[in-house]
């Protein structure tokens, strides 16, 4: 095998790698950026209580309570997590449908518990 042939092969290989790299880059660009949204709870509110989301875009909710143990439950997406004081629970999911969906506190927390809810607004 001559040196020229090796060089030619290397050039082809490099070209292929470059193309592959560009392809990977293109995929990375096409993937929507994952969002992290902080959500806090305190007796008897969520903040924010309206959370805008994009269909197909992964989201991570960073959940914590400012006072007593609460729960975050979004049954339309099959996800829930405890919200504990002093800890951050990360709840990741991908909204797979558009519309307005209820989330609510699923740990009975007191006299205002039953009105403690909010909306995920997926567009």
């Amino acid at each position: 095998m001559s040196v020229n042939k090796i060089d030619k092969k290397r050039r082809l290989l490099l070209a292929a790698c470059t193309a592959g790299g560009l392809g990977a880059m293109a995929i990375a660009v096409a993937q929507p950026k994952e969002r992290v949204i902080k959500v806090t709870a305190k007796r008897f509110d969520f903040s924010p209580n309206v959370i805008p989301l994009k269909k197909g875009v992964p989201v991570t909710l960073a959940l914590t309570s400012l006072d007593i143990p609460m729960g975050f439950n979004a049954p339309d997406f099959g996800v829930r997590a405890d919200m504990l004081p002093g800890k951050v629970a990360k709840l990741r999911f991908i909204p797979d449908k558009t519309g307005e969906f209820t989330f609510y506190c699923d740990i009975f927390c007191g006299s205002g518990h039953e009105s403690m809810s909010g909306s995920l607004v997926v567009t």
Binding site: P69, G71, N73, P75, D76, F101, T102, Y104, D106, I107, F108, C109, G110, S111, H113, E114, S117
Partner: protein
């Protein structure tokens, strides 16, 4: 869980007494877990006169639910009188039931432990006027979820237990003392051990507060590990569940197991998912106490081991 969506979230109240129901209608209703419906005091009187309730070895019990003693609000301007009217309604039955069951939310929640005990004491005093002295209680989340049932147990004892009556095995399940609405592994193991003692064809009635199935989780109308209880009950052929919590009648099947919710004694709630928020239905001055009530439950005699006659009685209405 094997939910039968055909029967989901529908109310099948009938103005007919069970004597009026022809065989075709009966068969259709039997598909809802063997329930025969009647409603109203006149319906009750007809049922009693018809001999069904009085037949030998027959019995019936009364279910009351969700009195929320201590609640104040426009949705029930007679919040301090409705429970007493319910007691009068039960006491005025021409025949008295063998026992009464109260499926939770005896009191309305309060963040003050002392006030909670006052409400439980007042509730207990009011229902002590019931002529029938065999009353089985269980908590709702309003009674028990903020202190894991501590105050409730001071007044009413255990939150889960069993009893037997005239060939029926009754199981009371607590799905509210855990504020996360779990029955919990310990109680589920207790349930499994109890069911193991029962033959597969035993006639079993379960009383609980929350629905054991996912009726409408968006409004917290579910039990987080309720499916585990239903799974344990599934091998038994003759199981029926009576519960409260949702302040309205609802009749639902999970496989062969029928689940029947009761009206409340404070305010009715909307049908599952029928409006954006789970806000109480407003008081209708033209029809006071509408949507509130108690029911009698009569197990049909063997071999109709999954059949029950439910008679819905209005509260606060003049007796016919």
């Amino acid at each position: 869980m094997g939910n039968d969506s055909n029967n989901d979230t529908n109310n099948y109240t009938s103005t007919e007494t069970h004597n009026d129901i022809d065989r075709r209608k009966f068969l259709r209703l039997a598909g809802l877990g063997g329930v025969i419906f009647a409603s109203g005091l006149s319906g009750w009187a007809a049922a009693a006169d018809g001999g069904g309730v009085a037949a030998a070895e027959d019995f019936f019990f009364v279910q009351l639910s969700d009195s929320h003693w201590g609640f104040e609000g426009d949705v029930n301007p007679d919040a301090k009188g409705t429970l007493k009217k319910a007691v009068e309604t039960v006491n005025s039955l021409e025949q008295l039931p063998d026992f009464i069951v109260f499926t939770g939310d005896l009191t309305h929640t309060t963040d003050d432990p002392r006030e909670r005990r006052q409400r439980l004491a007042q509730f207990k005093q009011i229902v002590s006027a019931l002529k029938v002295k065999t009353v089985h209680f269980m908590p709702g989340e309003h009674d028990a979820a903020l202190d894991n049932g501590k105050a409730y147990q001071e007044f009413f004892g255990k939150t889960h237990y069993t009893f037997d009556h005239k060939g029926v095995h009754f199981i009371v399940l607590d799905n509210v003392s855990d504020p996360a609405a779990r029955i919990g592994d310990e109680q589920l193991a207790w349930l499994a051990a109890d069911l193991q003692q029962q033959p597969a064809d035993a006639r079993i009635v379960v009383f609980t507060h929350r629905p054991l199935f996912d009726l409408y989780p968006q409004w917290d109308w579910a039990t987080r590990d309720g499916a585990k209880a239903v799974e344990l009950l599934m091998p038994h052929a003759n199981v029926t569940v009576f519960y409260g919590h949702i302040h309205q009648e609802n009749h639902h099947m999970t496989g062969h197991i029928a689940h029947h919710s009761a009206k409340s004694l404070i305010f009715p709630l909307p049908a599952p998912g029928s409006q954006a928020k789970r806000t109480p239905l407003p008081w209708d001055a033209a029809h006071p106490y509408q949507g509130l009530g108690v029911r009698t439950v009569k197990p049909e005699p063997r071999p109709r081991n999954t059949e029950y006659t439910l008679t819905e009685l209005a509260v606060g209405a003049a007796k016919s």
